[in-house]
């Protein structure tokens, strides 16, 4: 394993020092591991807090700023943050209008955010939650922990963040966040596994002509292994899975997301096929993102996330945002 790190034990702290040095618009509490908007709390504005394991950068710290998150709580690599940390972030961003937790649906994230919400409630902070579970590779049934939260997290953070910025109350901000999640679907594909610093070896083995279909964002194997093939065909597998679950149509927000080790060139090649697929289905990619947004360390591969837009969602997507990883209109 070769990584640009100082020590396996200091990876998260060293990352936070880098984030602090690079982004004066953020206030980084390295000890408590919280990335705050510098001007948080904003009186009267609903606060948005998200978090999860590290290793998905720029998620979540890269989305802290005007029009998006008020604070992000990075855990250890692929490990959800702890309740105290989340509670400190929550009270720290409460401007009196309550705080929205944006939580990816993983047992660890759910339990730790739940405990944090209780702690924050004890401190008099009103907390609502949006649970993100967009990954169609996992069936939501009695026999699973439910769908995973992946790419749609960014859509929820952006759109709920825009509504919060406009002064909307907590219930409204939570409502729009849930709507984004309900209208979003994702599917991921890996060409290679990733290597966590602590494990030091790849999380799974994959042959030179094999790919994993239906991966999550924690280096776990996917639902099935398949033969490597043309980008066009891989995209078809991914898009069919999405379309089977929620038929694609109309104005669509699309993200082609790199898993961390994928050249941008290949993501554009994938995007071309995604756009062509949508067109075939009578849908249109009216808004899009192509790049590394929700990653798994050094994994090669991509995920596609779609969101069926409404007029309101498009307007909120287009609203100004100013964060390290997503910025427009300011």
């Amino acid at each position: 394993m070769k990584k640009l790190i100082n020590d396996v034990g200091s990876v998260v702290a060293d990352t936070l020092r880098g984030v602090a040095a690079a982004h004066p618009s953020l206030r980084v509490d390295v000890e408590n591991r919280i990335i705050f908007r510098r001007d948080a709390p904003r009186p009267g504005k609903v606060g948005l807090v998200s978090g999860g394991g590290s290793g998905h950068e720029p998620l979540h710290g890269g989305y802290v700023g005007y029009g998006m998150l008020d604070a992000a709580c990075p855990g250890e690599i692929f490990t959800s943050p702890v309740p105290d940390q989340i509670a400190t972030a929550t009270t720290g961003v409460d401007g009196g209008a309550g705080v929205l937790h944006i939580v990816k649906n993983y047992t660890g994230d759910v339990l730790n955010f739940e405990m944090a919400a209780e702690l924050s409630g004890d401190e008099g902070v009103e907390v609502a939650r949006v649970l993100v579970d967009d990954d169609v590779a996992v069936r939501d049934s009695l026999y699973t922990a439910g769908r995973r939260g992946t790419g749609a997290t960014l859509f929820v953070e952006k759109i709920a963040g825009a509504l919060a910025e406009s002064g909307a109350p907590l219930a409204e901000v939570a409502r729009v966040g849930r709507e984004v999640n309900d209208r979003s679907r994702s599917f991921g594909v890996a060409l290679t596994p990733c290597t966590t610093p602590a494990a030091g070896t790849p999380t799974f083995e994959l042959g030179d002509a094999e790919i994993e279909l239906g991966i999550g964002i924690h280096g776990e194997p996917g639902r099935t292994r398949a033969a490597h093939r043309e980008a066009r065909e891989i995209v078809r597998l991914a898009m069919d899975a999405i379309d089977d679950d929620l038929p694609l149509s109309g104005e669509t927000l699309v993200m082609v997301n790199g898993m961390g080790g994928t050249p941008l060139m290949e993501l554009y090649i994938v995007f071309a096929e995604v756009a062509a697929y949508l067109e075939e289905k009578g849908a249109t990619a009216v808004r899009s993102l192509v790049g590394d947004y929700v990653t798994s360390l050094d994994m090669q591969g991509f995920s596609v996330t779609t969101c069926a837009l409404t007029g309101e969602l498009t307007r909120l997507w287009d609203a100004p945002v100013e964060t390290p990883a997503l910025r427009w209109g300011r």
């Binding site: 047992t107 660890g108 999550g216 639902r223």
Partner: protein
């Protein structure tokens, strides 16, 4: 079993988890996200530190402090689950300075109930419950049959170990491994493995 006993148990877990860290992480790499060993190592190191810094006055106090520390330091699924298990067990013991095997059995039963309530897992879902539930049953049975403390802890450890191994052929229905569907079959659940380790540490301390 006095306060010292419970503190020693926690120290024994800390050492055992440290030794098994990479093994637990490899189990988690196969069907999860390769962090279970690091998670518990971080957590129990903090537990050992906390117990040294704020020596508890009662067995219950030791377990509650251990549980709260796990919740504060681990994160992930195992942090809240193990943390709650130890906290609930500790709360059940109340202020008693000396714990009988029967009281210990009741405490672990409360810990198991906490895990079940929080995580919603049944036996057979391929989680730590598959090791903890049989251990709690074995302990209760031993108490009922009137064996020695040593025999009771032996039985609990053996049941946990068997329960952990029995997760291998199961398909996971809770936690990250459930995402793999049928591909989760053939691997031991890391949380069940660490539960077996925790009960083995209990046996070790009991046999001294």
């Amino acid at each position: 079993m006095d306060t010292r006993f419970f503190v020693t148990w926690m120290e024994e877990i800390t050492a055992a988890v440290r030794a098994a860290r990479d093994h637990l992480t490899r189990l988690d790499a196969a069907i999860g996200d390769a962090d279970h060993g690091t998670n518990l190592d971080r957590g129990f190191s903090a537990v050992a530190e906390a117990l040294a810094a704020r020596p508890p006055a009662t067995p219950g106090g030791a377990l509650v402090l251990a549980g709260s520390t796990l919740i504060r330091k681990v994160g992930g699924a195992s942090g809240p689950l193990y943390g709650t298990a130890f906290r609930e067990a500790g709360k059940t013991l109340g202020e008693t300075p000396e714990v009988s095997t029967a009281e210990l059995a009741a405490a672990l039963e409360a810990g198991l109930a906490g895990v079940r309530r929080l995580g919603g897992a049944e036996e057979g879902d391929k989680t730590m419950v598959d090791a903890l539930a049989p251990a709690v049953r074995a302990l209760a049975r031993a108490v009922h049959e009137g064996g020695t403390a040593g025999e009771a802890l032996d039985a609990a450890a053996a049941a946990a170990e068997d329960g952990a191994k029995a997760t291998i052929p199961l398909q996971a229905r809770k936690g990250r491994a459930s995402y793999l569907g049928p591909r989760s079959i053939g691997h031991e659940d890391p949380g069940a493995a660490s539960t077996a380790l925790i009960l083995d540490a209990l046996r070790t301390v009991g046999s001294r």
